[in-house]
């Protein structure tokens, strides 16, 4: 397996910049997920890694070796495509054999590899079929098998689960993760689905408009998003973002949330990073995850970092495992995740506890995390 370094990779078409100075270093065995809305440049970046597109500037290093000028065939990379890209005129076995045949691997060795890959992916009974005789999930397995057969240094997955139906998508997701754990392969994976990114990645690169917004572990990206875009993009439901004024309240900091002409609601903050002090008196954007809120049942006592607040219930969305409740918090929509047995009714006023241990604040102007 291998390490991959992207160094100041840029791509532009004429005056339009598609990628701005992307630098990412991947350790051996890492599972990097490139995630972002469509048009963010993630597919372009993947094509550049594959060698299908040339970067306008910058360098790619695979195992420390500069591969920027190499054609795709010489990079020792395998790619799994969204449409599976199985060769329609070849059987499954021939498909898996193709990259080996192109590399002039010995015949007996090819047969051996086809066998072992087919066993690994449980497609042994499909080897003589043509791609059109396979279901979506089977095609996906074959596509992965073809990528595995070559034992490349690096695997690229371009939205491999997007064409599968929901149930199959979950199954294949688990399988891909298993495969990664078993092979210890270095993988770059592109998706627009943030849940896929969270579940699979060892590190996530969130992109938007050709700019790398944040590079971090799923935990970091979820809990300490670098800016309001990442905060809103990662996680479902999205992070609640509320404008508030940061004020000093005795020796502590506090947030004043004010909407319209109503008197502000003051929420005292627990210990915050020292960088916050620079923003006292100015407006910030407070970010709270839906699961940081709990219903203040009778007899429940607030923890050391919990604060109570009152709000009106607007909408209740039970999902089975838990219930999403949309609150009206001084004119702001605020989504909270409660237990499945929460007995609330729309229009009802209720008291909640919000745990501020994981509160994050963003600069209201730059929208960057204050840390």
């Amino acid at each position: 397996m291998a390490t991959l370094d992207l160094i100041n990779v840029q791509k532009s078409f004429g005056p339009t910049k598609i990628l701005h100075n992307i630098s990412i270093s991947m350790a051996d065995g890492e599972f990097l997920v490139l995630v972002g809305p469509s048009g963010c440049g993630k597919s372009t970046l993947m094509n550049i890694i594959a060698g299908l597109e040339e970067p306008s500037a910058g360098e790619l290093r695979l195992d420390g070796r500069d591969i920027t000028p190499l054609p795709p065939a010489d990079r020792n990379i395998s790619m799994v495509f969204q449409s599976y890209a199985l060769y329609p005129n070849m059987t499954v076995a021939k498909n898996i054999e193709f990259p080996l045949a192109m590399r002039k691997v010995e015949k007996s060795k090819r047969a051996e590899r086809i066998k072992s890959v087919a066993r690994l992916l449980q497609i042994e009974h499909l080897l003589d079929r043509k791609p059109r005789q396979l279901s979506g999930g089977q095609r996906q397995r074959v596509a992965i098998g073809r990528a595995l057969a070559r034992e490349p240094r690096l695997y690229l997955f371009d939205e491999p689960l997007s064409n599968l139906d929901a149930q199959l998508r979950l199954d294949m997701r688990t399988e891909i993760k298993k495969l990664h754990q078993r092979l210890g392969a270095t993988i770059v994976y592109v998706t627009h689905d943030q849940i896929e990114a969270m579940t699979l990645a060892t590190r996530i690169a969130v992109m938007k408009g050709g700019v790398l917004q944040q590079l971090g572990t799923p935990y970091e990206v979820y809990n300490r998003p670098a800016n309001t875009f990442v905060a809103g993009f990662m996680g479902s439901p999205r992070m609640n973002l509320i404008k508030a004024r940061l004020v000093r309240n005795g020796s502590e900091l506090a947030l004043d949330i004010q909407t319209g002409t109503r008197p502000p609601v003051r929420i005292e903050l627990p210990d915050m990073p020292p960088a916050m002090n620079a923003h006292i008196g100015s407006e910030v954007i407070a970010g709270v995850r839906a699961e940081a809120v709990d219903l203040a049942r009778p007899g429940r006592v607030a923890g050391p970092t919990e604060r109570a607040f009152d709000a009106r219930v607007e909408v209740i969305e039970p999902t089975g495992a838990d219930t999403l409740v949309v609150l009206d918090l001084g004119g702001n929509e605020f989504t909270v995740r409660l237990g499945p047995d929460a007995s609330l009714k729309p229009g009802q006023d209720a008291r909640f506890f919000v745990d501020l241990a994981k509160l994050v604040c963003f600069d209201a102007k730059t929208e960057a995390l204050i840390a």
């Binding site: 594959a50 795709p72 890209a85 193709f98």
Partner: protein, 289 residues
């Protein structure tokens, strides 16, 4: 209301079939005339009407047309020229089809600067009348030393066919999934590896279309054959013309009919075998691109 409509529909149907039947008869009539008169003795043709069935059946005219009829100055029949046409058509079709596939591949998968302009120029060649290129082509063949040979005719027909074959393959490959090509490139296929292992094996319908199109065009082509060949290299069309136009002796219409039919048989066979694919392939190529 519903009854009225279905009644009207029935009458429409009858009318439609009547018209279609008339048209079919109209189209089949020349074939009938040819076949019927090619198996009659010459006397019956001269004495009777063209539509009548033969009184005495004979295959003599067919044998004469094939092997003993006077073509120009030689009593060779159409046989050697039939062979010439095959020697011309098979390589010309194969080469122009391959070049068309290559062009289509390059024009769709390598979007180089000016690709569309180049394609437009090649498309334009389809519309150039044959007569315009006669003299420059004669000059070119002279320089290449191919004048009056079957090879020369192959060259001319390949050059003239490339416009069509490129058009066919380019439109077909424009709808070809690009991910397959990309995948093959990552898997290690080189330029011709992609063409021969991925593109061509998936090009069945368009290959059939191109082959039928080129085969019938080149087989039936007359002007180039008449202009750029000599007695040893005449294609069947020119030989047929010489057979019919030989000025000496009586006009043997039954032999002419048989000869014309012999000349038409290969294209007829090609259509009967693969006409189904022809229509299907035309549709497939025209969906996108």
């Amino acid at each position: 209301m519903a009854d009225h409509r279905s009644q009207g529909f029935g009458a429409d149907r009858i009318l439609l079939y009547a018209v279609l039947l008339c048209l079919a008869l109209l189209f089949l009539l020349p074939v009938y005339v040819m076949v019927v008169n090619s198996v009659k003795p010459l006397d019956e043709i001269r004495g009777g009407n063209l539509m009548a069935l033969p009184v005495v059946w004979t295959i003599e005219p067919w044998l004469t047309a094939w092997s003993t009829a006077q073509i120009g100055v030689q009593p060779t029949g159409l046989k050697p020229y039939f062979l010439n046409s095959f020697l011309l058509v098979v390589p010309a079709v194969a080469i122009s089809t391959l070049i068309g596939a290559l062009n289509g591949y390059i024009l769709t998968q390598f979007r180089f600067r000016g690709a569309n302009l180049l394609f437009a120029a090649m498309l334009f060649s389809v519309f150039i009348p044959f007569q315009i290129v006669l003299i420059p082509m004669a000059k070119t063949l002279g320089i290449l030393g191919l004048a009056g040979t079957v090879k020369g005719l192959i060259f001319v027909n390949v050059v003239y066919g490339i416009g069509f074959t490129t058009l066919f393959f380019r439109n077909y490959y424009a709808a070809f999934p690009i991910e397959l090509i990309r995948s093959a490139r990552i898997d290690g296929a080189d330029f011709f590896g992609v063409l021969f292992r991925i593109l061509l094996p998936s090009s069945g319908p368009i290959i059939v279309v191109t082959v039928i199109w080129q085969f019938t065009n080149i087989w039936n082509e007359f002007l180039f054959g008449a202009s750029f060949s000599d007695y040893s290299s005449f294609p069947i069309t020119v030989a047929l013309n010489n057979l019919v136009n030989s000025s000496t002796g009586v006009k043997e219409y039954n032999v002419h009919f048989a000869g014309a039919f012999i000349a038409a048989v290969p294209t007829l066979v090609v259509y009967l075998i693969s006409g189904k694919y022809f229509v299907r392939g035309l549709m497939a190529g025209s969906v996108k691109g």
